[in-house]
């Protein structure tokens, strides 16, 4: 298939969706205040882009996720490997990690506000909770599933402990770590939107929640669409390729 044709086919469902939306809002089933048409939403989105407020909010949300990843992931991988080295410690801490996984995200918000007040510190704390425990758990599981024979092989050939860590455990756990990273950013992004509604005055979550106070449904829909597109782009262009590449590069294929 020619490239333009496949692009057209990929866009077709969304063209139909937008047409259906225009038809429903145009038919006047609901007042325009409740369901503005695609044209109104596009115009509002364009205005927000022109006056810069859309970019400020996008930048704030993406920046927070990035900060959360930069702080949490190295800590989580390091902790996961250290704990994974010790079988006894690992079997004790695994349930602890899954408890915090179950709790991750928005449930921390009231405590975060009590400790850090409203603002970026609370949001970062929530993202840390969401990302750290998922990546930690996946690193731990990844390290523990590396067959011991590889470790013993390196040891037999005279490798030191750091060789085992750097050349066996870390690469062996890579696919599991990256899967954890992808999941944690999915959960983190959702937690962020909810946290921004309550605890901040910038970001896409704040944008849509604030618009709700003024019944600006066009701004809400423009925000929702931006949130969806940003996540799809992050997942398609960064996370999925990273996951596929890691599995191809480091995935353990046992030839039995």
């Amino acid at each position: 298939m020619r490239p333009w044709l496949s692009t057209a086919r990929g866009a077709l469902p969304f063209v139909v969706l937008v047409a259906a939306w225009a038809a429903v809002s145009g038919a006047g089933v609901m007042p325009a205040m409740f369901l503005p048409g695609p044209g109104d939403v596009a115009r509002t989105g364009w205005e927000m882009a022109k006056d810069g407020s859309l970019w400020v909010n996008i930048g704030a949300s993406l920046g927070r996720v990035l900060l959360g990843v930069v702080i949490s992931v190295p800590m989580a991988v390091a902790a996961g490997i250290v704990v994974g080295l010790n079988r006894r410690l690992a079997s004790v801490l695994e349930p602890v990690a899954s408890f915090f996984n179950a709790l991750s995200g928005i449930a921390w918000l009231p405590l975060a506000i009590t400790w850090f007040g409203l603002g970026w510190a609370s949001v970062t704390f929530i993202l840390w909770n969401t990302i750290f425990f998922l990546v930690f758990f996946n690193t731990l599981v990844g390290v523990r599933t590396v067959p011991r024979i590889f470790e013993q092989a390196v040891r037999t050939l005279g490798g030191a402990r750091r060789h085992v860590i750097l050349q066996v455990l870390l690469p062996g756990a890579m696919p599991s770590i990256v899967t954890g990273l992808r999941m944690s950013i999915g959960f983190g992004w959702r937690a962020l939107i909810a946290a921004e509604m309550i605890a901040t005055t910038t970001g896409l979550g704040f944008l849509i929640f604030n618009a709700q106070n003024f019944h600006q449904t066009d701004a809400i829909l423009a925000g929702i669409i931006t949130i969806g597109i940003l996540w799809l782009l992050t997942d398609r262009l960064v996370l999925q390729p990273l996951e596929r590449w890691t599995i191809e590069r480091w995935g353990l294929v046992s030839s039995s």
Binding site: F34, F99, A102, I106, L111, I193, F209, Q212, I220, G228
Partner: protein, 255 residues
């Protein structure tokens, strides 16, 4: 490590953790509401159970997530299977469902608030939305991922269309459906807590959020423990066994 050793390790660790927590809350130079001791959390538990608030809130939150699970099973699974049957329809729906799946229910909450106001309806719609789309998406994906060769094999042997649906497509999609349910409910439980915080008048999310305004930190910690424990119980005793059994029974292993 034997069972007994594990149990002993656990008790020792738990005791150490509680001791360190008590010590920290007694000695750290912070206001008492910052870090109440474990005894305060236990007292909050006894108090809220005695007043009957905690059981009611737990039932409210559980009821909402179970309703969403039932709706997903009864509506989203059959619909996803149906949409997946035809390649054309599936190709058309895939990007749309993927888009709606990736916008969390919480992002729709502001719009729902304008439409339905601050109330039960808004919470239910946000949670159901969050659970339904991953289930729908994965059911469709499951049908499409059944290898053509099984369909062809049954066709060659003279199987009817209905036989193919019943014996190939539905069993083949089951592992994906189980995974979709688990993911959808994991997102849904979190969305429920967030929605109860923003909209609620009851439920665990409302409990911890309203406690924050009154600096009832022990109540927040209690609520968090209940939220985490409920999800772990649901995940370990219902969702994981179902997923594992489904994959063991119907999972297609490619050789």
């Amino acid at each position: 490590m034997s069972r007994r050793e594990t149990a002993v390790t656990w008790v020792v660790l738990l005791a150490a953790f509680l001791a360190a927590w008590s010590l920290a809350s007694a000695t750290l130079p912070v206001p008492p509401y910052f870090l109440p001791p474990p005894t305060a959390v236990a007292a909050a538990f006894v108090d809220l159970v005695a007043k009957g608030i905690l059981p009611v809130y737990v039932m409210e939150s559980l009821g909402r997530i179970l309703l969403a699970a039932a709706v997903a099973l009864v509506i989203a699974v059959p619909l996803g299977l149906l949409l997946g049957m035809s390649r054309g329809v599936a190709d058309f729906m895939y990007p749309i469902l993927n888009f709606f799946q990736s916008v969390s229910g919480i992002a729709w909450l502001p719009l729902m608030l304008v439409w339905f106001g601050f109330g039960e309806k808004t919470i239910l719609i946000a949670v159901n939305y969050t659970v339904i789309f991953p289930v729908l998406f994965n059911a469709l994906l499951g049908v499409r991922s059944v290898p053509r060769i099984y369909v062809n094999a049954l066709r060659t042997l003279g199987g009817s269309r209905w036989r193919i649906v019943r014996d190939v497509m539905i069993p083949g999609a089951l592992p994906n459906i189980a995974t979709g349910m688990r993911l959808g409910l994991a997102y849904g439980w979190r969305a429920l807590i967030a929605a109860e915080m923003l909209v609620g008048a009851n439920g665990l999310g409302f409990m911890i959020f309203s406690a924050q305004s009154f600096h009832l930190t022990a109540r927040i910690m209690l609520g968090m423990a209940v939220i985490g424990a409920l999800w772990l119980l649901l995940d370990y005793f219902v969702l994981r066994p179902v997923e594992a059994a489904t994959i063991a029974r119907w999972g297609l292993v490619q050789r």
